[in-house]
């Protein structure tokens, strides 16, 4: 998949977050994935694997540890897909 738009990436992240957000916390780009949405660390990595497969990219764990918000995750995917 080549160069998806910001909105497409954001919508995909929201779709993958949905099953891990049973309390239906509102999601926006500044939402803290673990702090606001209460997604635990194991689930974060499951979501990451889903994004890796969807965009055919590798998101290494050391990069994930620097990502706190939905927006930052989107930016990381944007950069990695641009490299492909």
């Amino acid at each position: 998949m080549s160069h998806p738009s910001d909105d497409e990436i954001y919508n995909k992240i929201c779709e993958l977050l949905k099953p891990y957000n049973p309390k239906n916390h509102p999601i926006n780009r500044s939402s803290g994935i673990m702090s606001d949405l209460e997604v635990d660390s194991t689930a974060v990595f499951d979501i990451i694997m889903g994004l890796e497969d969807h965009y055919d990219i590798s998101i290494p764990m050391e990069m994930v540890s620097d990502i706190k918000t939905v927006g930052e995750l989107g930016n990381a995917i944007k950069e990695l897909t641009a490299e492909n």
């Binding site: 194991t42 990595f45 694997m49 497969d53 590798s58 290494p60 764990m61 050391e62």
Partner: protein, 410 residues
């Protein structure tokens, strides 16, 4: 202004909830440990079914005698690391015994199982290498990767196909290698890796396979070498690590390799170089246990029979079990509160299992985790089954009691 411990407020709320339901499942205090399968709290004898004492060797006469003799001969502690204080004959003897057992030319022992994976993974993976790690890998593997400057990619649990896809996606690793890290038997669900398939994928891509057999060394294989031996591929595995604190009934760990060059990592592994080496008594108890393991077919047979007995009994009661019969049997519960309530009921009725909750569990599951021992008798398993039947029969009164406790606490 925030206080230092404010960040733990959500965790404290979970602990408070658990304490309203009963006692702290992660901080049980035993007044006595009587045998490999029995403890005591107050006047109540507790059947131990959650201590990873797979072969039941903690009170074995030969292991106990070996530890006592080592203390008499060489004292209670090493007071430093092997690079500072030197190597004891016990360290050399144990490394030689495990090397021979696994048929691998290199073996290094460490002070704990946790440190084993921290040390070995951080020693093996350099800046340009890429680590591929199973999604359900233990915390010490994850922490080991964090001690490296290597890139780390997770692959889907127990899926050689997914590993293959991610290795292909990574492509050529310029100036480095792929280190694939899996476990033999996974500690939470008790499920087993298809090592033969992982070997094929890893080596096809030119990588190295590292297997943590912490829960399987001593427990599987004709001579107890673990899952790789059971699957007939031990001689092809690049690295095998394990702990002394489960089937070997001591404390410490080892990593062994078919590559003699592994020895050089003694000069770079910080969790090996900058911590005290294992004590003569711990190492000697583990050495005695290795010889028990080699001849321990009868122990493994008993363990297998008990696992099948318990798995069958729980399945017939309708419990949702996370994997096929193995020495670890995890019962999936609907949520953390129910699991905590049931864990307390089991304790009050004399059975100790593990309460396992997220994020320490796969799939964010809440579990009553049982680990069996070769020292368990058929009668012990019947007692565990009877307790789990009691859980089912007393759900109504348990729920009422929990509601009353929660109300009283508010």
């Amino acid at each position: 202004m925030t206080q230092l411990f404010d960040k733990y407020a959500p965790l404290q709320a979970r602990v408070d909830m658990m304490m309203k339901i009963g006692q702290d499942a992660l901080g049980v205090k035993f007044d006595d440990i009587i045998s490999a399968t029995r403890g005591r709290i107050g006047n109540r004898e507790i059947l131990l079914a959650g201590t990873n004492n797979y072969l039941g060797l903690t009170f074995d006469a030969d292991c106990v005698e070996a530890a006592k003799t080592a203390i008499d001969n060489h004292g209670t502690g090493t007071t430093g690391s092997r690079i500072a204080n030197g190597t004891y004959t016990e360290h050399v003897d144990l490394e030689k015994a495990i090397s021979e057992h696994l048929g691998m030319p290199s073996c290094i022992v460490f002070s704990t199982g946790y440190q084993t994976n921290l040390a070995a993974i951080s020693g093996l993976a350099g800046d340009k290498d890429v680590i591929f790690m199973d999604a359900d890998a233990h915390a010490c593997i994850i922490d080991g990767t964090r001690l490296t400057n290597a890139s780390t990619i997770r692959f889907r649990h127990n899926s050689p196909e997914d590993l293959d896809k991610r290795l292909r996606r990574q492509g050529e690793i310029e100036g480095g290698n792929a280190l694939v890290v899996i476990e033999g038997m996974y500690s939470m669900f008790g499920d087993i890796a298809p090592i033969d398939e992982f070997l094929d994928v890893t080596h096809r891509h030119g990588g190295y396979l590292y297997i943590d057999e912490a829960h399987s060394y001593g427990v599987f294989g004709p001579t107890g070498c673990g899952i790789a031996e059971a699957q007939g591929v031990l001689d092809k595995v690049d690295f095998i690590s394990s702990t002394f604190s489960k089937s070997l009934a001591s404390i410490g760990g080892f990593c062994a390799s078919i590559h003699p060059e592994f020895e050089i990592t003694r000069k770079v592994m910080r969790p090996y170089m900058f911590t005290a080496s294992p004590t003569p008594s711990n190492v000697s108890a583990a050495l005695a246990a290795v010889s028990k393991i080699k001849q321990g077919g009868y122990l493994r047979d008993n363990l297998t029979s008990r696992a099948e007995q318990l798995h069958k009994g729980l399945s017939e009661m309708g419990y949702d079990l996370c994997a096929a019969a193995s020495p670890v049997i995890a019962v999936r519960r609907p949520n953390e509160a129910v699991a905590a309530m049931e864990w307390n009921w089991l304790m009050e009725n004399g059975v100790y299992v593990n309460l396992a909750v997220p994020p320490g569990t796969p799939q964010s599951s809440s579990l009553l985790r049982i680990s069996l021992s070769a020292a368990h008798s058929e009668t012990d398993i019947n007692a565990i089954l009877s307790a789990f039947q009691g859980l089912k029969d007393n759900q109504g009164s348990m729920m009422q009691a929990m509601a009353a406790k929660m109300q009283a606490a508010e």
